[in-house]
Amino acid sequence: MTNTSDTKANEAEGRRSFLPAFINLRDAGTLFGLALILIVFAVLNPVFMTAPNVLNILQQSSINACIALGMTFVIISGGIDLSVGPAAAISAVAGAALMTAGVPLPVALLGAMGTGMLCGLFNGCLIAFAGLQPFIVTLGGLSLYRALALIFTGGNPIFGIPTEFRAFINGDLLGVPVPVVIVGLIALLLWIVLNRTPFGEYILAVGGNQEAARIAGVPVARTRITVYVMSGGLAAVAALILMGRLGAADPTMGNLWELDAIAAAAIGGASLMGGKGSVVGTLLGAVILGSLRNGLTLMNVQAFYQLLATGIIIIVAMLIDRATRGRA
């Protein structure tokens, strides 16, 4: 909204001319921000840029990236999903309950996914059919799903996640941790969905101009609902990954995930006004936040100063990004 039209034009020019198809100028700005952070930490700490630590960062960022990808779709459609953390928790709890009840693993995984998607469906229906504001619906969901997870477990984590599942999640593929591979594949799929499928266009259209989309015959309600279902499903995926890594499904899982996810999406260029956002950008945003946390821990920055650095770097990353996009 605040963009001058020339910025937009520049962006579009850039998009067509000198950058590969899957990355646009906006993403290049984010990439630049990431590069800067990486360089700073690499200079300050020798361990930071070693291969194992880079994999470590990717692995640590993978959960936030997974959630943030769902968030990106919701944000592009003009909504927001504050309930991702509790949706993850309740999915984890459902999945773990099934697993420990001896249900075959694939069924348990589907059960977890289904639970997350059901949360999303509930959000989506209230938003699309009852016409409630996404922020407030998912704020309600934030309490609701958390409460259900806590009530179901009595507040206790569920242990006893099958070892084969844990081994799978903690394994790697050609040296790349499985969670990173999973989220990478999801991101690829979502990139195609957003940029190459009718549904992707519908999302952009609904977020960009809902009325125009409706008039053009875009199934607005279905589109809006679907993004929340996706977000819920991705929350479940994140929950399963985390469950595999921690060996427990904790009903308190996912506290404040929504903020991290929104931050990753926003750093990656999603506009909370809707109609704008990028899969690549969001991934970069998640990695920026992950690197930040990792770097500060490596340097053993004291708790209060870690908080300080986080705040400063979020703002500085946005400023750099703004500057590289060439606005005075």
Partner: protein
């Protein structure tokens, strides 16, 4: 019932909005292949009618038949499936998407078993549809980069996409130039020859008479008559639209010698180069030029909306360099923007609030807004301008386009600025209101205001202006005054001399 030769029959449609009866028991028929005008003043209910046809709105009563069959489309998509396509008055596109994506929005061409969008096919198809209308539009370009006129053409292209039986066009030419209208007219004839019926809404009578065979006239939401245009005169049509006579006034100059605004070498580093001219007290300066010649940009520079990179603006001898519209306003400059919805109105706020925005101080004392005073003054102002419905407390977004425009003009009258910049002031405005606005401009000039009118309608320029300035490719190509002002000379200045952009100023005509 006699044999139904009608393509479309509208039977007793009524549609009310809270406080307004937008349509009351309206019936009319359209024949196959007919181009049927739908005429009426601002707020007469034309758009509402078309929106009902296209199932964007649900009627309160009445129904429609297509080829004798009753149809009840539940959504715009249903309506399109039933054969009705619509071009909307307000441009309805999605900013981030390309031209082709917008054209195919909601019904993409697919590939890979329906999973993926076939962008290439969409662009090819879009290009072939656009070829008839404006081949310069690149279907791959993001739509928000296009000029309004081009966006409107895209809107038209969208309606042509499916093989509709009926195409409802709501002011399709409101931002098109005459030559673009010619393209459209040719296309309409082609479609009508193929048996497609077209419902054509426009305030431009010459166009209506040129393309339509018959026309239905609405007044205040009621059916007045369906007339055969070959047997009716323009004046008769207008009279039944307006319900009174409209006499064409002649231009009277009120220009004085005093220079109010002096623009010297103004440029924005992109589009506008070296613009220099003067505006006198009480003068109406017409600004003509082709679409994209930079008229809007120049007005925006003067109004402080965009920053100038070079040159100077002098008002009554003192130099200004505006950093915001606010500064320009306090120097006495007000702009009625071209894109009303985007740059003009705050849609959820009342007409009174929209009017008061630039001059809150005038309507407040001791820091508080004097609501009663504001309402009174706004009501008075809007009565003069014949706002319909005459309720300044209603959200401006609920008014018809023409009435919104009146409120925006009213804003600058209330702010009492000395210099008024009108960018396409009568776009989408009915004949009655148009003459009201002309009177108004003249009255303002008589009061000593200085006025620039940007318009793509030459008759409008000729009707209003003391002098005419013509822009071409971002430069001022020349200024015509007195008996030099005629259509031929303006056109000669406006049209670029060669394909390659000449950077040197073209010589003034003799």
């Amino acid at each position: 019932m006699a044999t139904d030769i009608n393509r479309l029959a509208v039977d007793g449609i009524s549609k009310g909005f809270p406080g307004v009866k937008a349509l009351e028991d309206v019936s009319f028929q359209v024949r196959p292949g007919e181009v049927h005008g739908l005429l009426g003043e601002n707020g007469a209910g034309k758009s509402t009618m078309l929106n009902v046809l296209a199932a964007v709105l649900k009627p309160d009563a009445g129904g429609i038949r297509i080829d004798g069959e009753t149809v009840r489309p539940g959504s715009p998509k249903d309506a399109r499936a039933a054969g009705i396509a619509m071009i909307h008055q307000e441009l309805q596109h999605v900013p981030g998407l390309s031209v082709a994506q917008n054209i195919f929005l909601g019904r993409p061409l697919k590939m890979a078993g329906g999973l993926l969008v076939n962008r290439r096919a969409q662009e090819t198809r879009a290009r072939s549809i656009l070829a008839d209308l404006d081949p310069s539009i690149d279907p791959g370009r993001p739509i928000h980069e296009l000029k309004v006129a081009q966006q409107q053409i895209v809107e038209i292209a969208r309606a042509l996409l499916d093989d509709a039986k009926i195409i409802a066009m709501d002011e399709p030419t409101s931002s098109l130039t005459p030559s673009e209208f010619d393209n459209l007219a040719a296309l309409i004839r082609k479609l009508s020859a193929q048996g497609v019926s077209i419902i054509y809404v426009s305030h431009k009578m010459d166009e209506v008479f040129q393309v339509c065979q018959r026309a239905t006239i609405l007044r205040d939401g009621r059916f007045v008559a369906t007339v055969d245009l070959t047997e009716t005169s323009e004046d008769e049509v207008i009279a039944s639209m307006v319900g009174r006579e409209i006499q064409a006034e002649q231009h009277v100059s009120h220009a004085e010698a005093e220079t109010v605004l002096r623009v010297e070498g103004l440029g924005d580093g992109r589009m506008i180069r070296d613009a220099s001219f003067e505006l006198h007290k009480g003068e109406v300066l017409g600004l003509a030029g082709l679409v994209g010649s930079g008229r809007t940009e120049l007005m925006r520079l003067i109004a402080g909306i965009d920053r100038a990179t070079e040159g100077s603006i002098e008002i009554r001898g003192s130099e200004h360099s505006f950093r915001s519209p606010r500064e320009a306003i306090s120097a006495g400059i007000g702009l009625v923007p071209e894109e009303r919805k985007k740059d003009g109105i705050v849609r959820d706020r009342s007409v009174a609030s929209n009017i008061a925005l630039p001059c809150m101080n005038r309507f407040s004392s001791a820091g508080l807004i004097r609501r009663a005073h504001l309402r009174r003054e706004a009501t008075e102002l809007m009565q003069q301008m014949n706002l319909r419905p005459p309720n300044v407390d209603r959200a401006i977004g609920q008014f018809s386009g023409g009435n919104q425009q009146k409120a925006i003009i009213g804003r600058w009258l209330a702010a009492d600025v000395d210099i008024l910049l009108f960018d396409e002031p009568t776009r989408g405005i009915d004949i009655g209101a148009k003459s009201e606005i002309y009177d108004l401009i003249e009255r303002l000039a008589a009061q000593g205001k200085s006025i620039i009118v940007v318009s793509s309608e030459l008759p409008e320029i000729l009707r209003l202006s003391d002098r005419v300035m013509v822009m071409r490719e971002g430069e001022i190509a020349g200024v015509l005054s007195g008996c030099d002002v005629d259509e031929g000379r303006i056109a000669a200045l406006a049209i670029p001399k060669s394909k390659s952009r000449s950077s040197q100023r073209t010589a003034e005509p003799a």
